[in-house]
Amino acid sequence: MPKRTDLHTIMVLGSGPIVIGQGCEFDYSGTQACKVLRAQGYRVVLVNSNPATIMTDPEFADATYVEPLTPELCEQIIEIERPDAILPTVGGQTGLNLAIALQRRGVLERYGIELIGASSTSIELAEDRRLFKQAMDEIGLRSPQSEVVSTVEDALRVAEQLGYPVLVRPSFTLGGSGGGVAYDPAELRQIVERGLKQSPVGQVLIDMSLLGWKEFELEVMRDARGNFVVVCSIENMDPMGVHTGDSITVAPVQTLTDKEMQRLRDMARAVLDRVGLATGGANVQFAINPDDGLVYVIEMNPRVSRSSALASKATGFPIAKIAALLAVGFTLDEIPNDITRVTPASFEPSLDYVVVKIPRWDFRKFVGVEDVLGPQMKAVGEVMAIGRTFPEALQKAVRSLDIGISGFGVGNYPSVSPETLRVPTAQRLFYTAAALLQGASPEEIAATTRFDPWFVRQAADIIQFQKNICEQKPRLEDLSADTWRQLKRYGFSDAHLASLLGVSETAVRARRKALGVTPVYYRVDTCAAEFEAYTPYLYSTYEVDDEAQPTNRPKVLILGGGPNRIGQGIEFDYCCVHACFALREMGYETIMVNCNPETVSTDYDTADRLYFEPLTAEDVLNIIDKEKPDGVLVQFGGQTPLNIARALQDAGAPIWGTSVDTIDLAEDRERFNALIRSLDIPQPEGGTALSRQEALEVANRIGYPVLVRPSYVLGGRGMALVFDDETLGGWLDKHIVWDEHPVLIDRFLDDAFEVDVDALCDGQHVTIGGIMQHIEEAGIHSGDSACVLPPYKISMYHIEIIREYTHRIGKALQVKGLFNVQYAIKDEIVYVLEVNPRASRTVPFVSKATGYPLARYAAQIAAGKTLAEIGFLTEPRVDGFFVKEAVLPFQKFPGVDARLGPEMRSTGEVMGHASRFGHAFAKAQMAANVPLPTEGTVLISVNQYDKGAVIKIARDFHQLGFKIVATAGTAQWLQAAGLPVTVINKVSQGSPHILDAIRAGQIDLIINTPRGGQAHYDGSLIRGAAHMMGIPIVTTLSAAAATVQGIRALREQPLRVRSLQMHYVAAKAANPLAG
């Protein structure tokens, strides 16, 4: 069937902010869908609230709406754009849920819009656990016995029938949010209470537990003619009980025979038939009893997913792109396979390599949370590695994680007994290695972990090599080329071998190369070499016959950011992709190196050539040896590539753009301070310390409170505000291992306004891209603070000072590309807090708001162009206000104090824009899924220090008609100011108390400002309850003031929508000289 000609305009729904369970894989899928639909001549309207995505770049759609993904605003967009169809299957569960909401509101019917790619009945059938179970029964497939309950009592009854442990899963939540395993009634009660609150329909599923069973996934596609293919089979190394997003997974399946595999294939097909997925991609998950092979169908997702992004990268089969084509009527056999060119997409990829995915967690950011894994996903990112064998791929994946572990068996662990491996944790893989090193048998480990014995044995073989080296203690010169090759075939890194041999990595590398042990690059070709591959999508291995075929063109290597983590996420991938686009336009061949399967950068058609490799010095240098690029770009991928920049330069790599020395200067506090002093720019008093004693001295010299942080980290990892010697000491004990990197200590500027500036410099000239004011005051990490462009509360005088300082700094540092400066304004003085001579987290936001692609310009500068040649000499102006709001994962980590602080913890961001600040702020809150109430009750509970200032805010709420509830202390102040206040008990004062009111839904908005080193017990409970209940909570007074403005704006005028394209037209009209 050829493509449909009855459709003209197609609306694509994005997935919104990056959250745990819904990451940047949907930028990859959405971008593919937009690209291919436009290429087919359709008019594409895109809605996505996430400005950090490539898909929301204005050239990927005809109309791009960076607006909250609510049915109300979508309806407004539909009213303007009149799409013929909506494609909801590339925007994750958010996209599907939004489509269902539009359908229920009658919007689809009213505007005659067709859902393509999935029908509402199939979406509901796949998502509603009870309907799904029934459907599986009908087609004779087992699915875990389970019951949907809406009360705790029913849950207890059902669990009694099924037998403990049971699995609890809330209906309609992302990444199994709110779920858990309950081993007894007490645990069950706790988990069910939470789950019922998180489920939008107030239901949870009590599941029969298949803990320890083998888990498999099939990524499948089908078209309107019924053609069906399995794109990829995936085996989870972690057995049932761990969410697949938290599982180490392997493709292709390793431990099933053909009969067992084909049975799953037949079942997957039957599931699709029954659920009624007409066209597109889906994911079907199975559990298999390792003792007798009994199969259970666990779930089916009728859309592209995290797993399908992984499957696409693992096989070279672009699922999202093909799903979009199928949705508009093509059949699989009408779509060519891009990689082989001669064969069609109606086939099943065959893999002659092994792919391993390992999730990346950030538990250290959430003090108090156990790193135990269960049915609720907790990973914030993942890496994928390709090797010819499982051991090689596993070791490559381990070093791709960028957690300071250079190989599977690296790390000093206390004695690990196999028994401790019974509980799945983020560290279990490494504890497994430790247990093997300490002599545990593979059989014992398989028995406790329930990893398939096959995986354990492969892991044990790796460890055996390591043990041999440890025992024989050979000298570097003693290792023969054959031994080298064997070690390399088992995935051992130079860094790991260097530590085992007690020599430097440089020496290892030199020796290895002298022996001629270098990798070859094989192509990911979808077909196990049956056909020639025209796409240079490559991975390294230690065999023979290189397939890289490097060209003689001028070329640039772009280093990606590696796995997503808090502080280094999609924003940096966005910048890398733009660098690719810019250099390609300039005629360079672009070569991408990255190991993150969720990203646009690792799409095989983003760069001219793609190396799916770890971002270590060794792996990158090997590629450089092969490709001999003219330039290497390290400033776009966040901290990961910067960390290896020095090693690359020392090995002779041509680093383009800002020099490595400048990067070091910015990180080296002594040098940086000297520079800033010489530029005559104020800095908060500060110092560095290389020991505990020094740290205490510096802190006391400056005077508490002080901000402390380790150097060379991103996202404020470990950063804290400390108030006295005791809290400083405690922090040092917890976060610092004294080495050559010092601890940075700075005076904390109370109540200062913070400002972020993104700017470009070509060495001669500086152009500011955007100046953003943080809405939260100083002390909140810039990544977690809402910010607004342009600043809404800073005088022109200070802004001029900021501009002038920025120019001075850029030129003095000889930046060649992007740099980001953070300022604080306190008592009329502008201080410089920090300078980062690289792409920053806010670059996509600024680019989206202004319409000027800063990352592209930075890449052009790195390649030698000047700002004048680029034509970007004037700071852009925007029409109206753009607010960026952070999205925090506290819902996933019950028990963590949900307060903001100097350490970044947000996973994603959204953007709201409007002509008034209040509307823009309200939109950003709505997009972040905590819409501001326009009426109701506000709970105010602030610290001593804020009590005076909160009166004005309380008065505003009163005037807006809100009822005010406060705890005794705050209430006194408010009553003294003549405001009517209802006093409510603190938790310690007994029921009915503040938490009861929150849980009972009597509170619509909370203003709660914590203060002090130890969060107040009540405050922590309040914040936790607010996040669980999805009640907006404001933890700073400046944000409270912004909230008042937002609510006022909402009450005065309804929200309007405007596409970025229309916005840019307006902005240019208002400011014809810019750019």
Binding site: L256, E260, F347, L351, D352, P453, A528, V544
Partner: protein
């Protein structure tokens, strides 16, 4: 112990031996199936072929008595990248190394299989010698041996694999592997299918039985008159090794049977049917061997993902005596199926019985039943 694969063009692929020791020759081919090595090892169509698996890890699930496709291992040699050091599967009844040893078959592991596959892809399949043990130390002799091996073109290998006596087959497929509804067990009143054994796979027989057919397997050289004397409702032409054009007696026999009884052929059986209808066959450069091949059913427009194992193919321009092409391979547009409605005969080049491979084409067995019933 050391192992070596020596190709007739002089290219050498060293590896580590497993299975039996010694030297063996054959045509080196590759298979892209990611599962199903035991079915492949025991498929008689691989007789005199050295099979290279493209999937990395082989042997993970061991071997068992259920997954065999004939009475023995047929491959002349088995080449893999990484032999599993362990067996892990709830159905396993032994490991691959011992299995090959028991059948005297040489295996090689740690071979640069991707390089080998790309070599075959660009140069075509070729003769080779595989050695495990002392013989691997003499590459020149092995290359010489490879060159003296008879070519697959023109080779009649059917006589070497067919059964010696007719037998009845009564076993069906195990219900745990299939979702289709099975017919009642065949009895004496059920239609009889006589299956010519050119190297037949067990799963073909199981699929016939599951559809209510009574099955008698006969040796390849059984005269057609004898077959007709058994009053069959249909005749099945099986898969098998070698050059179809060399099995002249089978072509003659089928020509005799055409029009007298419904006929269904698979793989070699398909080629023999095409030859009997007046067509021609030719040797392919490296054939189709794998479980992921897109075959389009031209009658329905649906694409079937199918299991393949063939090095010969019906020539696209040959005169098929009025038969129409029903299936083509979308990768290279080769003929994958034909039918002659008037003569009541049809055949496919690929393997609807799968084993290994996807089950998309099992409907062809139902069509055979329909054909048989319509002609009774």
């Amino acid at each position: 112990m050391k192992g070596l694969l020596a190709l007739e063009d002089g290219r050498l692929f060293p590896g580590v031996g497993f299975g039996a020791q010694g030297v063996q020759t054959g045509e080196v081919v590759f298979n892209t199936s990611m599962t199903g090595y035991q079915e492949i090892l025991t498929d008689p169509s691989y007789h005199r072929q050295i099979v290279t698996m493209t999937v990395t890890h082989v042997g993970n699930t061991g071997v068992n008595r259920e997954d065999i496709e004939s009475r023995r291992v047929w491959v002349a040699g088995f080449v893999v990248r990484a032999l599993s050091p362990i067996v892990s599967n709830w159905r396993e009844q032994g490991d691959l190394d011992s299995y090959l040893k028991a059948y005297g078959v040489i295996g090689l592991t740690e071979v640069a299989t991707r390089v080998l596959v790309r070599h075959i892809r660009s140069r075509g399949v070729m003769r080779a010698a595989i050695a495990h043990g002392p013989a691997a130390e003499d590459p020149a002799a092995l290359i010489e041996l490879a060159r003296s091996t008879p070519s697959m073109a023109g080779a009649n290998l059917v006589d070497e694999v067919t059964c010696s006596e007719p037998y009845n087959w009564t076993e069906g497929g195990s219900s745990q592997w299939y979702r289709y509804r099975r017919c009642k067990e065949p009895d004496t009143s059920s239609p009889l299918v006589v299956a010519y054994d050119f190297g037949i796979k067990h799963n073909i027989l199981r699929m016939l039985v599951d559809r209510g057919l009574r099955v008698t397997v006969v040796p390849a050289r059984t005269p057609p008159q004898e077959v007709l004397a058994m009053r069959p409702a249909g005749v099945f032409l099986s898969n098998g090794p070698g050059d179809p054009a060399a099995v002249t007696y089978a072509i003659d026999n089928v020509r005799y049977l055409l029009g007298k009884v419904p006929i269904f052929g698979i793989c070699l059986g398909h080629q023999i049917l095409a030859l009997a209808l007046g067509g021609r066959t030719e040797k392919m450069r490296f054939g189709h061997r794998g479980g992921n091949q897109p075959v389009k059913n031209l009658l329905t427009g649906v694409v079937e993902i199918s299991s393949h194992n063939h090095g010969f193919v019906v020539s696209p321009d040959s005169d098929l005596g009025g038969a129409e092409v029903t299936h083509i391979n979308l990768n290279d547009n080769t003929i994958e199926g034909i039918r002659h409605p008037e003569l009541g005969a049809f055949s496919v080049q690929f393997h609807p019985e799968a084993s290994p491979g996807p089950h998309d084409s099992l409907y062809l067995f139902d069509e055979f039943v329909k054909l048989v019933q319509s002609r009774q």
